[in-house]
């Protein structure tokens, strides 16, 4: 479970990137966070991984406050970035092995890694290929494979489908659906309104560091999410 309690971040230059965010994402739920660039989506994820420290409030992963016990909190969360960057001179399997060991999964063998790589849809011939030859889609698949191998109950993804072709994005989202089925908590920032509506259990819209709207899948079935999103953007712009 992910919790943001009055989570606030003001950078050294005075920019208020996140303004008292209060949010809970439950196990077995996909929460999609929409918003323009600079709205505070990535800042939220950065705070959950202790990449930056909050100015106020707290981020909690399974009840553990990240700022106080970052290592314990991060053991329960996996991270997939917009551009999964890996060690180019390592093969897919070697990258997977390296990050699995960092996550404390030392018992896994070559076949275990191959199984995960198959699951994320990477072609067999790519398993022992150096990652520097990989396309973005292949790297994103490897990124989610790293998250799967970590076997953390929470997965946070920062615009993971940006730049992916529709087929790769659909496969990626299907995989997230599977993880939800396993009871994982999925928190994803995205610009992709349509996939958010299709796959998310709840969708939030963020504007200038504030969470301005949250809708459930049921509510969204009767509303036009794109219209809602644009309305919120226009209202803010007019204000």
């Amino acid at each position: 479970m992910l919790e943001a309690i009055d989570l606030t971040k003001r950078y050294e230059d005075g920019l208020l990137a996140l303004d008292h965010l209060n949010l809970t994402v439950e196990p077995g739920e996909i929460f999609c966070l929409l918003g323009a660039n600079g709205a505070g989506k990535t800042t939220t994820i950065n705070l959950f991984f202790d990449f930056i420290v909050p100015t106020d409030g707290s981020a909690r992963i399974d009840g553990i406050e990240v700022a106080r016990e970052p290592l314990a909190a991060k053991r329960n969360a996996a991270y997939v970035s917009e551009n999964v960057m890996l060690y180019g001179n390592f093969t897919a399997r070697q990258n997977l092995d390296f990050f699995a060991q960092l996550s404390g999964r030392r018992e896994l063998g070559r076949e275990d890694y191959y199984m995960v790589l198959r699951r994320v849809g990477l072609q067999e011939k790519a398993f022992e290929q150096r990652v520097k030859t990989f396309s973005k889609g292949m790297r994103q698949k490897l990124g989610i494979a790293i998250a799967i191998v970590k076997d953390a109950p929470n997965v946070l993804l920062d615009e993971p489908t940006a730049g992916l072709d529709p087929k790769a994005a659909a496969e990626f989202m299907a995989l997230l659906g599977e993880l939800r089925g396993e009871g994982k908590t999925i928190f994803m920032s995205t610009h992709d309104i349509f996939r958010a509506k299709e796959h998310a259990d709840r969708v939030g819209i963020m504007k200038e560091g504030r969470l301005v709207m949250v809708r459930t899948r049921r509510e969204l079935a009767e509303e036009d999410l794109e219209r809602l999103y644009l309305d919120y953007m226009e209202v803010e712009a007019a204000a």
Partner: protein, 420 residues
């Protein structure tokens, strides 16, 4: 976790061929340095054989040290001849080196290679260890995986250090084994102990350079900026601080000009000889001139003591300032270990003065009798390695402290590092 991260760094160096390239470069440089310095040593040894005195000559001259092949230091100056006469010591010119270009360019001995060239390699290996990972985006993934920043710092440091030091160590070991069969460099047991101590010190020094470079990598977010900072630091550490330290010491510790010292000696000689002639003219009999020569020698020794004291103070001040840089401290202790340092040169001068005092009566005897006399052979004293290490603990401490400070900077900087 630390070893996992370290292993990845080593693999990266192997995959990219950096380690192999460094091994080949180290092999070529160390071999070339050994070849050139061995030729130079042979030439100096040949010169020594020519000027080596026979027992009837009151000359003190020390043979070139075989360890000077590895660190020539002041060996050229120490190879000068010192001819003892009744009016003082006549110092011969420096033995001509086989390579006069050494006067214009640095001597390519192992000390130079470790102090300058491999130190640069250390900076080039370490400057992007942290910021490079940030630029690639892999640092974020490592931190999110659950690795603590401390473990990342230690693991990356350890792996990068092994990847950097192992090729150099292998190339060095290879040339040590080949030194005798290829170049005929024969070392005694004590020489081997000194060489191994020198190499251990070189490993510590290079580790400190590497630690500084890694600390720089955690202070910047772009590897381009870190590279500039690393190169600038290398220049300051290796060249600027040692050079400025020596120059500054000359401003702090006063040493009278050599011309004044020579003039004072001439004045002593003139006044004593004048007094001897006057006494002889006044009808005094006996060994008048011998007495005044002895007095001249005594007063000359006082001048020498004063000059030696001033030079000693200058050397100590220089050493204190120079060891602000690990390169300066390394140079100071390494040349001590190999017997070609400022301290060794000063010890040789003391030995020469002691020898002069011992044989001066024989010189008078020879002169008065007008016959040849056999003089005892000149022997130079040498500090034991244990003594060298004890005396050089300030240099060693300076290197270790600078390394510890660099490591501290790395940990503090990485803990505050903006990983976004």
């Amino acid at each position: 976790m630390i070893w996992t991260i370290a292993r990845r760094e080593i693999s990266e160096a192997l995959f990219t061929g950096r380690a192999l390239l460094l091994f080949v470069i180290a092999l070529a440089l160390l071999g070339t340095g050994l070849y050139v310095m061995d030729r130079d040593y042979d030439a100096r040894r040949a010169n020594y054989d020519v000027i080596r005195p026979d027992p009837t000559q009151p000359i003190a001259v020390a043979p070139p040290s075989p360890l000077s092949v590895f660190a020539r230091g002041l060996d050229d100056a120490m190879g000068r001849s010192f001819e003892v006469s009744v009016i003082g010591i006549d110092i011969g010119g420096s033995q001509a080196s086989a390579n006069p270009l050494f006067g214009l360019f640095p001597t390519p001995d192992w000390l130079y290679l470790f102090r300058v060239v491999f130190a640069l390699v250390a900076f080039l290996f370490g400057f992007d260890l942290i910021c490079g990972d940030k630029e690639r985006g892999t640092l974020k993934l490592m931190v999110s995986s659950g690795a603590s920043r401390g473990a990342i710092a230690v693991g990356k440091w350890l792996g990068g250090w092994l990847a950097f030091l192992t090729p150099i160590a292998l190339a060095t070991a290879l040339w040590l084994v080949l030194a005798r069969p290829v170049f005929g460099i024969a070392l005694r047991g004590d020489d081997w102990a000194r060489i191994l101590a020198f190499l251990a010190l070189a490993a510590v020094y290079l580790s400190v350079c590497y630690a500084i470079a890694v600390a720089i990598s955690a202070l910047f977010h772009r590897s381009g900026t870190a590279l500039v900072a690393a190169l600038f630091t290398w220049v300051v550490v290796v060249f600027v601080i040692p050079s400025f330290g020596v120059l500054a010491a000359r401003q702090i510790a006063h040493v009278r000009p050599l011309a004044l010292v020579t003039a004072e000696r001439s004045r002593i000689f003139g006044s004593e000889m004048m007094r001897a002639y006057e006494e002889r003219r006044a009808g005094r009999t006996g060994p008048v001139f011998q007495e005044h020569w002895a007095e001249m020698h005594r007063r000359g020794e006082q001048v020498s003591d004063r000059v030696a004291g001033e030079l000693g103070a200058l050397a100590r001040t220089s050493a204190s300032l120079v060891r602000l840089s690990p390169a300066g401290a390394f140079d100071g202790l390494a040349t001590r270990m190999l017997g070609t340092s400022v301290v060794d040169e000063a010890r040789l001068k003391r030995d020469v003065r002691r020898y002069t005092g011992a044989i001066l009566p024989l010189v008078f005897e020879s002169r008065n009798a007008g016959a040849e006399v056999e003089y005892p052979a000149f022997t130079e004293s040498r500090a034991t390695l244990g003594r060298v290490l004890a005396d050089g603990r300030a240099d060693l401490a300076a290197i270790v402290v600078i390394g510890a400070l660099a490591t501290l900077v790395l940990f503090v900087a990485l803990n505050r590092y903006d990983i976004r």
